[in-house]
């Protein structure tokens, strides 16, 4: 070994780093045999401790004392209190840092906040003329940033695919799966009565949010989530057999892939007309009417169907491993 390397390895910082990484400090003067002997000795010591622990007198059967003894031998106890203390200090530090930073943020709704710049001004001023919506949030996410939302819808699609890869049971697996009698529960009086009353209300509320996305708060994501929750409630009350009559795997596949494909086509059309400065064939219509604002309403419906399918698919896959 050359001299500089030796010097380097004897530096305090290097030794500290190796200590942190858990390497054993090996002095270069110690020969290999001596090192081996040292290792053997330590190994014997370890074995002796383990032996003592395993063959300890069988007098005390108190598990707490047992755990204490184990901790004493392995030296866990010494560090445990330090860990708790350090975690506490770390938490306090992070909380302090966050509060300190939040204090510099502008007040809620203040006029000179950096978010109130010419971008939002432009959206609010020209948005209605550009897109024909009343609810500017929907106009922004489905018209100005439609490509963004398109990617988000893909995220949902891929998430369901991943869950399907992990949890879907098909063919042989399905036959071998333990039959859970609660997948088709006994008629539960309270649950079914409440569900009969609530499910139509929830579904109508979801569809209302969906169709009024361009007029009132809401839109595809919220409406789809509410509809999915309604489907889950129906399934929980009436079981998989009854739900399977109108929402089985075939319907699910058609709805999910079909809505995403249609959405892709609409986005392609929008991009094409926008890039080439061609007027869209879909009229914007009268502001405030239900059939207005061009392609936003169909996109809302497609996104809603996609989200509702995703919600229900998560539940069905987690519960049963199929539809």
């Amino acid at each position: 070994m050359s001299k500089p390397r030796k010097d380097y390895e004897e530096l305090k910082s290097v030794r500290f780093r190796r200590f942190i990484q858990g390497e054993r400090e090996i002095s270069t003067e110690v020969s290999m045999e001596e090192f081996q002997r040292q290792m053997d000795k330590e190994h014997e010591e370890d074995e002796r401790l383990t032996y003592n622990y395993l063959n300890r007198p069988n007098v005390e059967m108190d598990p707490q004392a047992d755990a204490k003894r184990f901790a004493e031998i392995t030296g866990m106890k010494r560090f445990h209190k330090v860990y708790v203390f350090m975690a506490f200090v770390l938490c306090i530090c992070i909380i302090g840092l966050l509060i300190y930073n939040v204090a510099y943020m502008p007040n809620y709704g203040s006029a000179d906040a950096p978010t109130n710049n010419e971008v939002s001004e432009k959206y609010l001023e020209d948005g209605q003329a550009d897109t024909g919506v009343v609810n500017m949030v929907t106009g922004m996410i489905l018209q100005y940033r439609a490509f963004d939302t398109f990617g988000e819808t893909h995220v949902l699609f891929i998430a369901t695919c991943a869950v399907m890869i992990l949890l879907f049971l098909k063919g042989k697996d399905e036959e071998n799966a333990p039959h859970d009698p609660e997948l088709d529960p006994e008629p539960d009086m309270i649950l079914q009565t409440v569900a009969r009353f609530l499910v139509p209300l929830v579904m109508i509320f979801g569809i209302y949010i969906l169709l009024n996305g361009h007029l009132s708060p809401g839109g595809g994501f919220s409406g789809g989530a509410v509809m999915g929750a309604g489907l889950i409630l129906y399934n929980a009350a009436f079981g998989f057999t009854k739900t399977g009559r109108f929402f089985n795997e075939k319907v699910y596949d058609i709805l999910k892939v079909g809505s995403l494909a249609l959405y892709a086509m609409i986005i392609t059309y929008c991009l094409f007309t926008g890039a080439n400065d061609i007027a869209s064939i879909v009229p914007l219509g009268k502001v405030g009417a239900i059939l207005s604002s061009g392609l936003i309403l169909p996109i809302n419906i497609l996104v809603g169907v996609e989200v509702a399918c995703t919600m229900y698919a998560f539940y069905a896959l987690f519960r049963k491993g199929g539809f």
Binding site: I209, P217, A225, V226, G228, M311, Y315
Partner: protein, 107 residues
């Protein structure tokens, strides 16, 4: 002023819920606390004038996520008392079947 006090109370509840979730030993209880956290959060969204987020939070946070947690807990048998309940039920079914079998043989 009144709305400010209500928001402060709700935020205090949120903090208590967030601490409670991590300190409860029972998983079922922590899921229920998490659910109430989402519900209160959706009320706060309404106070912050974003009703669309409130709807989504109520549907996803308080509804679907909790349902998924419950289903998972049942899958891994982490719901407390369930194995004993099942045993009791099975014992009841067996005794019922025996009784009905005896009746059938008598007839």
């Amino acid at each position: 002023m009144a709305s400010k006090i209500i928001i402060l109370l709700l935020v205090l509840f949120l903090i208590i819920c967030a601490i409670g979730v991590s300190f409860t030993k029972n998983l079922l209880v922590s899921v229920v606390i998490f659910m109430s956290y989402s519900l209160v959060m959706s009320v706060i969204w309404i106070f912050l004038e974003s009703p669309d987020l409130a709807i989504t939070e109520a549907a996803v946070g308080a509804g679907v996520t909790s349902v998924l947690f419950f289903v998972t807990l049942r899958k891994i048998d982490a719901m407390k008392d369930r194995p004993e309940e099942l045993e009791e039920q099975n014992a009841l079914y067996q005794s019922n079947e025996e009784l009905s079998g005896e009746e059938a043989s008598h007839e």
